[in-house]
């Protein structure tokens, strides 16, 4: 059986020293081993940006696509081969700006993949512009007088889409993050894990210390019920989205694969492509 070391490759990440993304990389490697995967059974599909490079830093099949489109590529992979474990991954700009349409619809569609966002409230690779999750007043190269837009409340949005697994992690809490990713992979349906992953170079506001000070651990809220969507929504609003842990989980919701009429319970990769002649003749006769 593979260990987390088997999911390490020999590529040195080009992230800045201290980048939050290193922990996310390690957490995916550990969670993959913990759920019993072999490297070839995992496909990591990523977007564009610093965090998008992650698919190249894990010993597994990996596809680094185009900006904002990791989710549709990942859904295509999963539809083709339902036996693969598929993780889509990227940053807040990738998933909540250019790719937001896909994010909402992937949650709504509920194909059984795990989506991990490394949220640092800034555009890092383009060297410091505002992001959809940047706070109001946040000063960046593209908002020199401070951002006048309010940040998106991603967790409220995820709950509103009907997403059946919503969680939020913090990149220094490796153990918790590994557990959230394991739960996400094991969840039957779309699972969404937003990870606060500080950018040490361009974001001098939302630092490790800042998150440590502000994040509320849901495990410490007495009576918090992860199956109660209303409570989840209220808690997020109360804490301005700054919570960590499993926020909401719906175990009854059917995944797209389970719900789609006629969809094969075996990977489509094994199909014989040639139509049998009788079947072809039947199809032709329908046009006569």
């Amino acid at each position: 059986m593979a260990t987390f070391k088997d999911f390490r490759n020999n590529v040195k990440p080009n992230w800045c020293p201290g980048c939050g993304d290193f922990s996310v990389q390690a957490a995916i490697q550990r969670a993959s081993a913990n759920v019993g995967l072999e490297p070839e059974q995992l496909a990591v599909i990523s977007g564009i940006g610093c965090s998008g490079r992650i698919s190249g830093y894990i010993q597994s099949y990996g596809f680094h696509g185009i900006h904002g489109r990791s989710l549709p590529i990942a859904q295509g992979v999963k539809m083709a081969n339902r036996d693969l474990t598929v993780i889509a991954s990227g940053g807040d700009g990738d998933g909540f700006a250019i790719g937001m349409g896909h994010t909402i619809h992937a949650m709504k569609r509920n194909i059984d993949i795990t989506y991990i966002v490394m949220d640092n409230q800034i555009y890092g690779l383009t060297k410091g512009q505002t992001s959809p999750t940047s706070a109001e007043g946040f000063t960046t190269k593209s908002t020199p007088s401070g951002s006048v837009e309010s940040p998106l409340s991603i967790m409220e949005m995820a709950l509103a889409t009907g997403c059946g697994f919503v969680a939020q992690g913090f990149s220094t809490d490796l153990k918790d993050l590994v557990s959230l990713i394991e739960q996400g992979i094991n969840h039957k349906g779309f699972s969404f894990i937003n990870v606060f992953s500080p950018c040490v170079t361009f974001n001098k506001v939302n630092t490790y210390d800042w998150f440590k000070e502000h994040l509320v651990n849901l495990n410490e809220i007495v009576g918090y019920d992860t199956s109660n969507r209303g409570m989840a929504m209220q808690t997020i609003i109360e804490h301005n989205g700054l919570v960590k842990g499993l926020i909401y989980k719906d175990d009854k919701k059917k995944s797209y694969q389970e719900a789609a009429h006629g969809y094969s319970d075996k990977p489509l990769t094994g199909t014989d492509l040639k139509l049998p002649e009788e079947k072809f003749n039947e199809l032709v006769a329908e046009f006569m």
Binding site: N10, I66, G262, S264, L283, M288
Partner: protein, 585 residues
């Protein structure tokens, strides 16, 4: 072209009225019944981008021989409103007839010499129980005019209404009978010159180009289709959502065309043939994905059913103006194949071919159709099961990949002589590698090194230098030295084929080339034909002569190339091609 043999071997019929009042189904029932009798049909719908209201018509050509074009004129016009008469009478020749519903007190349009017969379509139908059956009365009147036996429609009526019970079938048959009887009485017996020669009685397929593409996709082993609805492509996804579940597959209606193209890339990367289809606006959104397919060498097949552009343009009208966009669209240099079937039969075989080529050359393939080919409904010669061939190139799902001890990646982008690298899919043991839209080395790891860039670019760009493509140009070139070479692509073939005998009758030697492989451009195939012609006419549906410019660029001889363009939304009529060609001499 009045009277004589022409009249007896073929007939042109049109039904018109307000959109949403059953005009399509009237045409459909008439056409299916005629198809069953063994006639060849060609149907073209005029419709608007709205659900109800607005003039719509369905023009159907019936012939004892193969037809692939809208006819020049009209023999019978069935009118459910005055607008239909006003808008379409100019197509009627002097021996033609209008059969109109008495309900709207029809009046002949001034310019027509055709005769008007008034039949109470709505009244007869209402007396039988529901005015909805007025279209069946109209079909009945048609059978009266053509001297057809109404019972020949019974089989079709049973198929369509059988589910609603015996009574409904009988009522509809009665509507046809009464329509026929009323017309015969009104016209004092059948109109002799409209009587058709008997057809051969063979049953043939009757389908639109989109049906053939969808059936081709199924036959190619497609098991997944992510797509976003758009005119005139939606029928492809609508067919496949009905059929794919029988094969374990499915269609996903995506949030947009970017998702459709990238999802298809994901599926093809994972080893399952996936199709997506769209029209101009969707293709514009897919451009970045096409580049991704190119640089990651992931097979991708996109059908582009061209319609009037730019922007939303003329969404329900014929045009061929995406040519430059599909060849050159997407930033950067990539290998790409653009195919252009010119008949419904070719649309079927070419769709299968598109998937084979996409896998063999590991590149995007765009199958160009146009609204006329995609939606024109016509009789199709039998499709040959034995011609269905599946080729997957260098993808070997059974191979055992040797282990590499050092965690090095599989060389998915190995530099090879033919430029095509070995391909594996996720899940295969020892096949792990990386795929990226960033320039990469042989294992897929990002690399900006100039020498690597050079070798990977060269590798990709040489892949198509040995492209094997069956019949890149459909040629009908009987003359060694021709006065005129006519070149077209996609659905203009039918109109060109009808114009040629007329030009030859007038003493011109005419060759014909319909280009089926648009990119890489078949310059060597075309050059001798261009060189041996005095003049070249390039017939296409756009305003700038996109195909003509391609020919000039690739073959040269700009001095003898003439543009014959039409971009008002309607398909070329044979007589228009005939006249424009004649003007060149």
């Amino acid at each position: 072209m009045k009277g004589g043999i022409w009249m007896r071997d073929q007939l042109s019929w049109k039904v018109g009225g307000q959109q949403g009042e059953g005009i399509d189904s009237t045409g459909e029932i008439f056409a299916i019944a005629m198809n069953r009798l063994g006639y060849y049909l060609y149907g073209y719908r005029h419709f608007s981008s709205r659900i109800k209201g607005g003039h719509t018509n369905n023009k159907i050509r019936v012939s004892t021989n193969e037809v692939r074009s809208v006819s020049d004129d009209l023999d019978i016009l069935i009118a459910f409103d005055q607008e239909t008469i006003d808008l379409n009478s100019h197509e009627l020749h002097d021996n033609g007839i209008i059969i109109a519903d008495s309900k709207f007190k029809p009046e002949k349009a001034d310019e027509t010499g055709a005769s008007l017969y008034v039949v109470p379509f709505t009244e007869i139908a209402a007396d039988l129980g529901t005015s909805l059956m007025k279209n069946m009365v109209a079909i009945g009147a048609t059978t009266g005019a053509l001297g057809l036996d109404v019972n020949q429609f019974e089989e079709v009526v049973k198929e369509i209404f059988g589910r609603k019970g015996e009574k409904v079938v009988e009522k509809n048959m009665e509507a046809i009978r009464q329509g026929a009887a009323y017309f015969k009485k009104e016209s004092g017996g059948q109109i002799e010159n409209l009587k058709l020669n008997e057809a051969d009685g063979r049953r043939r397929m009757f389908m639109i180009g989109n049906d053939a593409i969808a059936l081709g996709a199924l036959s190619a082993g497609v098991r997944f289709m992510p797509a976003y609805p758009i005119t005139p492509a939606s029928e492809i996804m609508e067919y496949l959502i009905k059929k794919l579940p029988d094969f374990g597959g499915t269609v996903i209606q995506t949030e947009d065309e970017i998702a459709a193209a990238t999802m298809a890339i994901g599926s093809n990367y994972a080893g399952v043939r996936a199709l997506t289809a769209s029209a101009g606006p969707g293709l514009s959104l897919m451009m970045e994905s096409i580049g991704l397919s190119g640089i990651t060498e992931t097979p991708l097949v996109i059908v582009d059913t061209q319609r009037g552009g730019p922007s939303t343009g003329l969404p329900t009208k014929q045009e061929q103006s995406d040519l430059m966009a599909v060849i050159y669209g997407t930033h950067g240099d990539i290998p790409k194949i653009v195919m252009a079937p010119s008949t419904v039969e070719e649309a079927f075989y070419d769709t299968i071919q598109a998937f084979n080529l996409a896998e063999e050359y590991q590149c995007p393939v765009i199958l160009l159709s146009d609204l006329q080919l995609s939606l024109g409904k016509q009789t199709v010669e039998p499709l040959d099961y034995n011609k269905i061939e599946i080729r997957r190139g260098k993808l070997d799902l059974q191979q055992e990949i040797p282990a590499r001890g050092d965690k090095s990646y599989f060389k998915r982008y190995e530099v090879t002589e033919d430029g095509i690298s070995p391909r594996v899919i996720p899940g295969m043991v020892n096949g792990i590698h990386h795929v990226t839209g960033v320039e990469h080395d042989e294992t897929g790891k990002p690399s900006e090194s100039p020498s690597n860039r050079q070798s990977q670019m060269d590798k990709r760009l040489r892949k198509l230098s040995n492209l094997k493509f069956d019949t890149p140009v459909h040629k009908k070139a009987p003359h060694e030295e021709a006065d005129l070479l006519i070149i077209g692509y996609v659905s203009t073939r039918g109109g060109i084929e009808e114009a040629i005998p007329r030009l030859e009758n007038e003493g011109l030697k005419v060759n014909h080339a319909q280009i089926r492989l648009i990119h890489p451009f078949p310059s060597e195939e075309l050059r001798p034909l261009v060189e041996s012609a005095r003049k070249v006419a390039i017939v296409e549906h756009n305003g700038t002569g996109q195909l003509a410019n391609l020919v000039k660029m690739n073959v040269g001889h700009a001095e003898k190339i003439h543009h014959i363009l039409k971009y008002n939304g309607n398909p070329f009529l044979p007589k228009e091609i005939h006249n424009k060609c004649k003007e060149l001499f």
